[in-house]
């Protein structure tokens, strides 16, 4: 029997990875479709808003990476324990979300060294601003909100991994509570297994 969920994205982590991390954490099977840039133009008009990722479930196609992630978080019980907790988890995601496209602008799409340098300056400011705010608000026991793994922890982890492993190692040491959240995610056996097995992707982002 085919899995209930089909996720389509490019062969990278970026905006699709929080949802993949959620499926992994929850132990839920899904079809992890990765398309190339060449294949994309033919797909574009059949998507709800002309962008990826999309998630197909029960004959319905969802778009917008964070709406998809929130949906899967809800399906798997990783969105928050109370109504207010869900809103607090949402707020962290809203604050962090922009870091992925801004980082992509530097590590993937920079036109030349000068462009990269200028964009890095802006990115550093944005990282300091966003992670600074999240550090202030984060729980101290390895979770952003409440006392259990929620999707916002996975969204943070995806970003922090790229910051440390791809962009600028050593950045996260300024954010001890957030580092603790990420360590908690990394120590989760299902997440660790996914990270060991996941495709390398067409580039490391």
């Amino acid at each position: 029997m085919a899995p209930k969920y089909k996720l389509t994205y490019f062969d990278v982590r970026a905006r699709g990875e929080p949802t993949r991390l959620l499926f992994a954490a929850a132990g839920v099977e899904y079809e992890d479709v990765r398309i190339t840039f060449d294949q994309w133009p033919a797909h574009k008009d059949s998507t709800p808003m002309g962008v990826l990722p999309i998630l197909e479930v029960d004959g319905i196609t969802l778009s917008q990476s964070m709406s998809i992630a929130r949906f899967i978080a809800r399906e798997t019980g990783l969105d928050g324990k109370t109504r207010l907790e869900r809103a607090q988890a949402d707020a962290f995601v809203d604050e962090l979300e922009e870091l992925i496209p801004k980082m992509a602008g530097v590590v993937v799409f920079a036109k030349d060294e000068k462009d990269k340098e200028e964009k890095s300056k802006e990115l550093d400011k944005l990282i300091a601003e966003r992670l600074g705010k999240c550090e202030k608000l984060s729980g101290s026991d390895g979770h952003l909100v409440g006392n259990s793994l929620l999707w916002c922890d996975l969204v943070l982890f995806n970003i922090a991994h790229n910051i440390e492993e791809v962009y600028k190692a050593g950045t996260m040491q300024d954010y001890p509570k957030l580092t603790k959240v990420c360590d908690t995610v990394k120590a989760n056996p299902r997440i660790a297994k996914w990270m060991a097995e996941r495709p390398a992707g067409m580039f490391d982002f």
């Binding site: 929130r70 809800r74 207010l84």
Partner: protein, 202 residues
């Protein structure tokens, strides 16, 4: 009955979707409008140094989109099933992106501003509105056949972008979206709010 206090600047901007939804849900709240001069003193006491804020029974929620989703759930405008909620979410993101693109233009230097404004008016907005028009039904609802936060988000963001002096294509070009706007305006709570709300420049 929870006590609700909503704080934003004295304008519509990215804070208005929440006020309109509170009105649609018939939810009583304190509509605090902060003068810019008062903001600096308050900023560091807020969760993330930004407005709007929603205070509910002693908990403060920030991030306009998270507040919107919370109010939508409380007001019964979020969508009936989990997947309907996801559809409402994605439309809200799409509609909001129109506002975000417009707002970003205003902090650009003059030369760049004109170029980006033209690109938004002639390419990005028509393309997005076209996608959104296909996603709305002929009856004027994005999800199911009753008002959700998706419909409210389309109407309020479209209206707010217009008041940022961006010349968006008329909704006459997008018949389903035009119906969405009509449905939003016809909701009794919203109609009352639109009539009574303070008039502001943005």
């Amino acid at each position: 009955m929870p006590s609700i206090k909503y704080t934003y600047f004295d304008g519509r901007g990215l804070g208005e979707v929440n006020r309109v939804m509170l009105a649609a849900g018939g939810m009583k709240y304190e509509d605090v409008r902060l003068h810019e001069s008062k903001w600096a003193g308050m900023k560091s006491a807020t969760p993330m140094g930004e407005l709007p804020l929603l205070e509910v029974d002693g908990t403060t929620i920030c991030q306009s989109n998270s507040i919107a989703r919370y109010i939508a759930r409380e007001a019964g405008l979020a969508g009936k099933t989990s997947i309907d909620q996801a559809k409402v979410d994605m439309i809200m993101e799409g509609a909001r992106s129109l506002f975000d693109k417009a707002a970003q233009i205003f902090i650009l230097p003059e030369a760049e501003k004109a170029v980006r404004k033209k690109k938004l008016e002639e390419k990005e907005a028509p393309e997005l509105l076209e996608y959104l028009n296909k996603l709305a039904s002929g009856k004027g609802y994005f999800v199911g056949d009753q008002l959700t936060a998706a419909d409210v988000a389309l109407y309020v963001n479209y209206e707010s972008v217009g008041s940022l002096t961006i010349a968006l294509p008329s909704l006459d070009k997008y018949p389903n979206l035009k119906k969405v706007a009509e449905n939003v305006k016809a909701n009794p709570g919203i109609a009352k709010w639109l009539k009574e709300r303070p008039v502001t420049t943005y």
